[in-house]
């Protein structure tokens, strides 16, 4: 019998295949799009339109050491250093057309959704204007209320219909509602499997190294609506279930402390941020990513609500509750909070999230300055001091504190 490939290999292959599929389509003369990470992926999937994700590419470029070069190129084009580094890297890529760390085809259209931030709109408008290509925007404004109201759902729904129509016009494809239903079904299956797999973090010890999720999430973002992704995450969940039974983990060594990592990974310094935690036996068992990319819905209206309930779009009370729930479910000993200069929206709520975790979950917290893709906004020594102090507080807590 042929031995089954481990899920992590399958996931890497799926991520690679998504880029290859776009290249093949481009080379065959098909239209290829660039897509925002929280754009409803079910739409291009239903139309069988290949899209690639600038945010994923920017993260990969940053992780491979190209972040500073690309950011500086964008700054040379006139883009401010205050802009999101993903945006700067992508604008540099749109100008250079190639990148040694990770290449992807140039777009024939862009699909924008501002449920992650409004910088996204200007970024995609700049792309559309510079490259002279059409832009489709699904406007999902920041939700000031706790729940997603009917009028918001109607507003977004209307745009969905229009987005589909425009996309058909651009690509010459025909829309089949059954295919949309199918892609929604698959996307749900993937999300459920992803949530199930990540939920294994709650076991003590956790069967997975939390930093694994930073890699796996690429597929949850860009290939949600594919059967291969659903199957790979289902297999990942099975592997974690087996690890729990066997008492094994992808985290090597003793898991002394269970921590939440709040915020986007600091991709340019991934190894450094990881090593400082790993050296002290801290394993990440809680991230906002896990829940953020688990889009669960039964029908179109619920899908509209799901795309509103994403981290940077949800109201701060809901955002805090979500984190507190994750923290309690995973029994964290402390929280490491990335104040990410690139992402003003996510970082802007961090002082309050930090306070809520400290006071309502009752765990020590530490914040550090960094960036999702611009390496210049992180200082290793400052990070190390904070992490060591944080560790020492957890040590004191374990001892029961006091002298």
């Amino acid at each position: 019998m042929e031995e089954r490939k481990p899920a992590k290999i399958l996931l890497r292959e799926i991520a690679d295949a998504a880029y290859q599929r776009a290249w093949d389509a481009k080379n065959a003369g098909e239209k290829v799009g660039w897509c925002a990470s929280n754009f409803p992926v079910e739409i291009p999937a239903a139309l069988d339109i290949p899209v690639v994700y600038p945010e994923n590419q920017a993260a990969a470029i940053a992780a491979k050491g190209g972040g500073q070069r690309m950011c500086e190129h964008a700054e040379g084009l006139g883009y401010s250093n205050d802009l999101c580094a993903y945006a700067r890297i992508n604008m540099a890529f749109a100008d250079l057309k190639t990148c040694e760390e990770l290449d992807m085809p140039q777009p024939d259209f862009v699909l924008c959704c501002n449920n992650i931030c409004n910088c996204m709109i200007k970024w995609y408008e700049a792309l559309a204007k510079t490259l002279n290509i059409p832009m489709i925007l699904v406007d999902i404004p920041y939700n000031t209320e706790y729940e997603v109201s009917e009028d918001r759902i109607r507003y977004i729904r209307k745009q969905f219909d229009e987005a589909i129509q425009k996309l058909c016009e651009i690509t010459g494809k025909t829309f089949d509602p059954k295919k949309l239903e199918e892609s929604m079904k698959v996307s749900n299956r993937t999300s459920r499997a992803w949530l199930k797999a990540t939920d294994y973090c709650k076991y003590i010890p956790s069967p997975l190294n939390g930093y694994d999720l930073f890699n796996h999430m690429a597929v949850a973002v860009c290939a949600r609506a594919s059967v291969e992704a659903a199957e790979a995450f289902e297999q990942l969940a099975e592997e974690y279930a087996q690890s729990v039974k066997d008492g094994t983990s992808t985290y090597r060594g003793e898991q002394k402390y269970r921590i939440m990592f709040e915020g986007i990974a600091c991709w340019p310094h991934l190894r450094h941020t990881y090593t400082a935690l790993k050296d002290r036996g801290m394993n990440v068992v809680a991230t906002v990513y896990a829940d953020a990319f688990g889009f669960i819905f039964e029908n179109m209206d619920e899908m509209m609500a799901a795309y509103t309930n994403v981290p940077n779009c949800m109201n701060i009370e809901r955002a805090a509750d979500m984190r507190i729930k994750i923290a309690k479910r995973t029994s964290i000993d402390g929280a490491v909070i990335h104040v990410n200069r690139s992402c003003k929206l996510w970082s802007g709520i961090m002082p309050e999230i930090e306070r809520r975790l400290r006071t309502e979950v009752g765990v020590p917290t530490v914040t550090f300055d960094g960036d999702q893709a611009d390496p210049r906004n992180f200082t290793p020594a400052q990070y190390d001091t904070r992490i060591q102090g944080f560790y020492e507080v957890m040590e004191e807590n374990k001892k029961g504190g006091g002298r």
């Binding site: 190390d384 507080v393 807590n397």
Partner: protein, 262 residues
């Protein structure tokens, strides 16, 4: 671990401090050299402290290093973050302390102490404003010695506003005031107020639990303490040994290490 003294060394960005304590936990010798990590400062600080007691490394039971240069100090038995060390040292100097404010050369920290140990902390973001380095830059612009700043601020009649949160921008503000012939004392008071406001924001975020104790080099600046106390609405205690709190805390951890091994 047979030595008579436990040693703590705090290697900061601007200074190196060394403290030797006896088995009773009392300070036997202390030294400070005005150069920090990456210089001869740390070894000079050790030599100076050893010289005061006429001892050598043989007489030291354990060494704990702290501060930004903690990982590069040869011979340390353990490193501890300056966060834990300042909390430990502050608690030793002033056992009633529940909130500790430390403004060092490179950063500002607020620490909460519970049962004598660090229980939570907050540090400034990467901006240099509100740190000792900020005051140092300003003293150069004003051609004052850093030790003269406190008295100059206290003599102010109408403290000016220094509102920029960036050191470089604040420097421009100070230069603008100077070019308008504003009083040096009023400018200095404005600088101190700006440090106090910025630090107070950090303290309020974590919570002000009396009593409040201040450590680090800036604790010696009475005028900064005055404005900080006003911002927070509480008395701020300090000690002549405040600048040694980190090294003292490290020495106390070294003593614990000695006791645990014996």
């Amino acid at each position: 671990m047979n030595g008579k003294y436990a040693m703590g060394i705090d290697i900061g960005s601007a200074t190196s401090k060394c403290v030797l304590i006896g088995k009773d936990g009392n300070i036997a010798a202390n030294s400070l050299i005005a150069s920090g990590t990456g210089t001869a400062g740390p070894s000079m600080a050790v030599e100076a402290a050893f010289g005061k007691l006429g001892v050598t490394r043989e007489n030291i039971s354990a060494i704990v290093s702290t501060g930004y240069g903690r990982n590069s100090f040869p011979g340390a038995d353990k490193t501890m973050s300056e966060l834990s060390c300042h909390a430990r040292g502050a608690y030793h100097l002033y056992p009633e302390a529940k909130t500790v404010i430390d403004i060092g050369g490179q950063d500002a920290k607020v620490l909460h102490i519970s049962n004598g140990a660090l229980s939570q902390f907050l540090m400034n973001d990467k901006c240099a404003a509100g740190t000792g380095r900020f005051l140092e830059v300003m003293s150069h612009v004003l051609q004052l010695d850093i030790s003269e700043m406190s008295e100059a601020g206290a003599r102010a009649e109408k403290p000016l506003e220094i509102s920029s949160t960036c050191t470089v921008f604040a420097e421009s503000e100070v230069i603008s005031h100077l070019s308008r012939s504003a009083s040096i004392n009023d400018i200095v008071a404005g600088i101190h107020k700006s440090v106090a406001t910025r630090t107070a924001g950090l303290v309020k975020r974590l919570g002000v639990i009396p009593e409040v104790f201040m450590t680090g080099g800036v604790a010696r600046n009475e005028n900064v303490r005055h404005y900080l106390s006003r911002e927070l609405g509480v008395d701020i205690k300090t000690s002549p040994l405040a600048q040694y709190a980190g090294a003292l805390g490290a020495a106390l951890f070294a003593l614990e290490l000695t006791n645990n091994k014996e």
